[in-house]
């Protein structure tokens, strides 16, 4: 049963990711990415990482993708006159596709004699309590530093996107 759900979710994730790449309009890409994120949240639930699934939905779908959709609607983009796939594009895309295939093949080769291959059986689910304990004791400094990064990024985004010499 779990295997069937995994196969369906992974097929849907791959299709949604391909749709992001091949949809012509950016807003369609954002909607496809929304489907992709929700599929990944389902995969997280499947592997017992419910907290990550909640954060996936709240942070990515609720914040990041809304920001994307907002910016696309704000910019009022015109349709591109060029066709999506032309001969020149196919020529230009060949190195990219080779690069992607190279990533897959190299990772597959690396996994063949990885040290963890024998341990790749299902482990008990990690409890929320253990994650919280580790996050707020062992990794507290990193956790605090992310707040600084978020603050700097928010200020930086405002500074970058405002008009020259004008008010934001």
């Amino acid at each position: 049963m779990e295997t069937v759900i995994f196969c369906m979710l992974s097929a849907f994730a791959v299709v949604a990711a391909l749709a992001v790449v091949f949809f012509k309009r950016a807003i369609n890409g954002v909607i496809s990415l929304l489907a992709f994120m929700l599929t990944l949240a389902g995969l997280y639930v499947l592997m017992g990482a419910q907290l990550v699934a909640f954060f996936q939905v709240i942070v990515y779908v609720g914040a990041v993708l809304v920001l994307f959709a907002f910016v696309i609607m704000l910019l009022n983009l015109k349709e591109s006159v060029r066709p999506l796939i032309s001969l020149a594009d196919v020529k230009a895309a060949t190195p990219a596709v080779l690069f992607a295939v190279g990533i897959v093949v190299l990772t597959w080769l690396a996994l063949q004699d990885a040290a963890f291959s024998k341990a790749a059986a299902l482990q008990p689910v990690i409890g929320l309590r253990q994650i919280a304990l580790d996050l707020f004791t062992k990794h507290l400094l990193v956790f605090e530093l992310t707040s600084v990064i978020l603050f700097v990024a928010a200020v930086g985004a405002i500074v970058i996107s405002r008009k020259e010499g004008g008010r934001p």
Binding site: E2, T3, F6, S10, A13, V14, A17, V20, V21, A26, G29, V30, L33, L43, Y44, M47, G48, A49, V52, F55, V59, Y60, V64, L67, F68, V71, L74, L75, L77, S80, P95, A96, F99, A100, V101, V104, T107, W108, L111, A121, L122, Q123, I126, Q130, D134, L135, H139, V142, F143, T146, I149, L150, A153, A154, G156, A157, I158, I160, S161, K163
Partner: protein, 99 residues
């Protein structure tokens, strides 16, 4: 359903995102492809955390999500500035950097 299945799925998704980053010209779609790659890495982290039993994988995911949110905010700010100065988001038409 083993570790290999999840890692394989993550690698395939990462490859799709990486290829899309080089194929497409629209700046917004480039950012979307970056998000695909970040999510693929998150999936691989979560599967290692699940199959090798450790909390670090999930904690890394939270950090990566924070960085991704910050990156999206800054990237969209750059896109708005780019659109103001060039009136287009087609990366093949923006040649100021002479790359």
């Amino acid at each position: 359903m083993t570790l290999y299945h999840f890692v394989g799925l993550g690698v395939v998704l990462f490859a799709i995102g990486a290829a899309g980053f080089f194929i497409r010209n629209n700046a917004v779609v480039l950012l979307l492809c970056i998000e695909i790659m970040l999510n693929a890495v998150n999936l691989i982290f979560a599967s290692f955390a699940r199959f090798l039993y450790g909390t670090e994988g999930q904690i890394f995911i939270f950090i990566i999500m924070t960085i991704a949110a910050a990156e999206a905010a800054v990237g969209l700010g750059i896109i708005i500035a780019l659109y103001r100065s060039h009136k287009t988001l087609d990366m093949s038409l923006i040649k100021d950097l002479k790359g």
